[in-house]
């Protein structure tokens, strides 16, 4: 029977082509609008590292002075760690791995003076960065812990940048001259570009979504060469002049990360942090006695407001638009079905129950929904392509995945069923006697 209803549905699509086309297009537009905004929100708020996101923690301390502290006001720029705290975490912090990173900018000097410079934006970090964030290697490997200790002049490049400089051959062992110093390439990162860029959200090279780390060097190498941070530096205390004084200062400019063996170790990590802060306070630091915070990946992205209210606004309004399209389709279906009261009357008179009529019309509306869904999917791809043109940020997030593909279909079919319920129910109400009489 289902196949027969399906056939009837398909045939009825052809019967009033204009009306059917209008319904399909209306549903498709509604679906496309909500799917494209939802896709963007989905990518923006998605978990970039599901296997580890609850085990990766960012510690955050309030290092501001006592004088202007009020617990209800938060310094919007104090979102990173001081150099001394980051160093202490690296030395003795909790968890199985710890790293710290800050954004750097460098230019490779060309061999010949006339040639253009090659600019690199990246990070200074430690060797644990690579296993901690599951960074794959195309060539070579990360530097060693000993390299971290010595501040070895070694560098890892992104795949794209390595290809731009050395072509597709293995550049390990080659040298680049940055910060007036020779660095040896030890590795090239493979395809790895998490969106959002959760590892380094506070970057000076793109933003939350767009951009990549083109250069990675040992933290100590960068600080030895006084490579200035390319990103946010927030100083809440007066500090003396010069690089050494900057490193010793209460300015916050380094992002610290801890990887725990399991998410259940978090209370222990919190206890370590509280004990660390208490010890620092005995030394006269951290005079605000503000709460010492830990964020896992999702909390961290939430704290930094990775998802802008605008994206949520767009989703809300487009869902409102979808509701409108559903109501519209409902009206059109009502019109379509009302012209077929006679047909229903005949079927009922010949013995079809209300249930049979209900199933027949429901199948028909679902056929409309599927057609709308298919067209809506095509429109979604088109509108996402259009959205990608708007900005680099949007071009990084406006991509559909399998999850959203399935969601699109679910939305389309659900929308058509919701739209079809009332008209279908009305069609079932036809009393056969009246219909037959009026003929």
């Amino acid at each position: 029977m289902f196949r027969y209803y399906l056939l009837l549905g398909l045939r009825s699509l052809r019967r009033n082509p204009a009306l059917t086309a209008l319904m399909v297009v209306t549903l498709a537009i509604g679906v496309a609008a909500s799917v494209s905004t939802l896709t963007i929100l989905h990518v923006m708020s998605g978990d970039p590292v599901p296997s580890k996101s609850r085990r990766l923690l960012v510690p955050l301390l309030d290092v501001g002075p006592r004088a202007n502290y009020s617990p209800d006001r938060r310094d919007p720029y104090m979102t990173q760690s001081t150099y001394p705290d980051a160093m202490n975490y690296l030395r003795s912090g909790p968890g199985v791995r710890r790293t710290a990173l800050y954004g750097v900018m460098a230019s490779i000097e060309p061999a010949r003076r006339e040639d253009p410079l090659i600019d690199l934006s990246g990070i200074a970090t430690t060797t644990d960065y690579f296993p901690m964030f599951d960074v794959p290697f195309r060539f070579g490997s990360a530097w060693s812990a000993a390299d971290d200790e010595r501040g070895a002049r070694v560098a890892v490049l992104s795949k794209r940048k390595a290809e731009a400089i050395f072509g597709s051959k293995d550049p390990v062992g080659q040298r680049i001259r940055i910060w007036d110093t020779d660095f040896t390439i030890v590795g090239v990162v493979g395809d790895w570009n998490p969106v959002p860029r959760y590892t380094n959200l506070i970057n000076g090279s793109g933003g939350y979504f767009e951009g990549e780390e083109q250069l990675m060097v040992p933290l100590k190498a960068a600080t030895d060469l006084a490579a200035e941070p390319n990103g946010n530096v927030s100083c809440s205390h007066e500090s003396a002049a010069g690089w050494a004084a900057f490193l010793a200062s209460e300015c916050t400019w380094i992002q610290a990360w801890w990887e725990l063996a399991s998410a259940s170790d978090r209370p222990a990590a919190q206890a370590w942090l509280d004990a660390y802060v208490a010890q620092q306070q005995r030394g006269g630091r951290l005079e605000r006695h503000a709460p010492n915070e830990l964020f896992d990946v999702m909390q961290w992205m939430d704290f930094l407001k990775v998802v802008k209210p605008d994206s949520k606004l767009a989703v809300w309004l487009s869902i409102g638009f979808l509701v409108l399209c559903i109501v519209n389709t409902m009206g059109l279906l009502l019109a379509k079905f009302s012209t077929r009261a006679a047909e229903v009357g005949v079927r009922r008179a010949l013995g079809a129950g209300r249930g049979a009529i209900f199933r027949q019309f429901l199948v028909e509306t679902t056929v409309v929904g599927l057609a709308g869904g298919l067209l809506g999917l095509a429109l979604s791809f088109a509108s996402l392509a259009l959205i990608r043109q708007q900005s680099k940020d949007l071009s990084a997030v406006a991509h559909m995945d399998w999850e959203m593909l399935a969601t699109t279909f679910a939305i389309a079919v659900l929308a058509s069923i919701v739209a079809g319920l009332l008209p279908t129910w009305r069609a079932c109400q036809v009393t056969p006697a009246l219909q037959l009489k009026s003929q």
Partner: protein, 410 residues
């Protein structure tokens, strides 16, 4: 007018008209809120930066790859400025540490008194020298421009933080520091935590947006500090002859690279590009909302057309009878237009409430401001007119139904 029969006919078959009214209500709710947000975003992106004839202004950044000493850096700054001034098409050049709308730069908290616990504002700090105000065409509204005598020399390697004794502030910063005053020259305030040394305001400019150009007052809170400072990188604000900024910037970067004693990194951006980049997200959202609004109206119109066509089809015979009984073309047309007006008016009434409700939600969850009533009025009028326009076609065709139809059996 024959409103009563129309109304009772409507009450007989409610579902179709009700669905149309619901569509009108949803349309109005979304349309009013969307247009309001679009207008807000466009207003934010069209705020003046304070820079006169912005399309002729740009900046070039230059940074040596090797570390230079304090005197070397200052000498380079002077040489670079001279080189840039010598380029064809350049009207003015001024050294600075940052540019408005460029989304990168430094800011500092300021306090009106040393005892004040919380800062009065967090202004953008422009380190500049005499000539900056003229080059950018900023409007001095009180006090005087800076002179060479105001300029303080600073070596960041040696001086912790150089705070010049006299600075120029924007009116917005003046108001934030001294809310009850209208004249700010001669007043003093403190940078940072309110250390020992106060700074005096020597002049006030009408406007200079910050590097971030945040919405609201914060986007215009800037301070010009007369400093000659040996930062590793320099920005040069350049004003070009009309229409030449892109060429001038390109030549500026090339010339700086060629004439530099050590390799240098450069980049350039016109203010137009900075402005586009700064407001890209605002523009993207505005376009998206405009597109949704247009589709919204299209869908609503198609709903009204569809419903009217259905009602006309259902009543061919009645129309024929009415025509046969002497109703004119006009009367039939008026019937359907009035019917439609009743439906849209009902929808609009519900839509007004829905729009306010939606606005409440947006205020609560997304920090959108309160919806001004004009938007509701504009939206309501637009939907009324669209409703009449949408119903006109099918209704006119209905009015053309021949009276002879009344005598035929279906």
């Amino acid at each position: 007018m024959e409103i009563r029969p129309i109304f009772s006919a409507l009450m007989k078959s409610r579902t179709g008209p009700l669905l149309v009214a619901v569509q009108v209500a949803i349309s109005l709710a979304i349309l009013a809120n969307a247009l309001f947000i679009v207008q807000q975003r466009i207003a934010v992106s069209e705020r003046p930066s304070g820079v006169a004839a912005e399309r002729d202004v740009g900046h070039v950044y230059v940074r040596p790859l090797r570390k230079l000493s304090h005197p070397e850096v200052l000498a380079e700054q002077r040489r670079e400025a001279a080189v840039l001034r010598g380029l064809a098409g350049v009207k003015a050049v001024a050294w600075t540490n940052q540019m408005p709308l460029s989304r990168s730069g430094s800011s500092s908290s300021v306090r009106a008194t040393a005892e004040q616990v919380h800062e009065s504002a967090q202004p953008s700090q422009y380190f500049v020298q005499p000539g900056f105000i003229q080059a950018l065409g900023l409007r001095l509204v009180e006090g005087r421009d800076m002179t060479e005598a105001d300029v303080m020399e600073s070596d960041p390697e040696k001086d912790a933080e150089a705070i010049p004794p006299g600075v120029i502030v924007t009116e917005s910063l003046g108001r934030a520091l001294f809310p009850n005053e209208s004249r700010f020259v001669g007043r003093t305030f403190y940078f940072g935590l309110g250390g020992e040394q106060a700074t005096r305001i020597i002049g006030v400019i009408e406007r200079l947006q910050t590097t971030g150009a945040q919405p609201g007052e914060a986007g215009e809170q800037s301070v010009l500090e007369p400093l000659r400072i040996s930062q590793p990188g320099s920005h040069f604000a350049i004003r070009a002859e009309p229409g030449q900024i892109d060429r001038v910037l390109q030549e500026a970067a090339e010339t700086l690279r060629k004439t530099a004693p050590v390799p240098v990194r450069t980049f350039t951006r016109s203010m137009e590009v900075d402005r586009t980049n700064r407001y890209r997200n605002e523009k993207a959202l505005a376009w998206m909302l405009i597109a949704v609004s247009a589709l919204l109206l299209l869908v609503t119109v198609s709903g009204i057309v569809g419903m009217t066509m259905l009602r006309v089809a259902q009543r061919r015979k009645q129309i024929g009878v009415r025509r046969a009984l002497g109703a004119r073309w006009r009367d039939i047309l008026r019937y359907f237009v009035t019917e439609n007006l009743i439906i849209t008016t009902g929808g609009i009434a519900a839509g007004l409430l829905l729009a306010l409700g939606l606005n409440r939600l947006l205020i609560a969850y997304l920090g959108v401001p309160r919806l001004p009533l004009e938007y509701l009025a504009v939206g309501a009028v637009a939907l009324w007119m669209l409703g009449v326009a949408a119903v006109y076609g099918p209704a006119a065709r209905a009015a053309g139904i021949s009276p002879a139809i009344a005598t035929r059996t279906a």
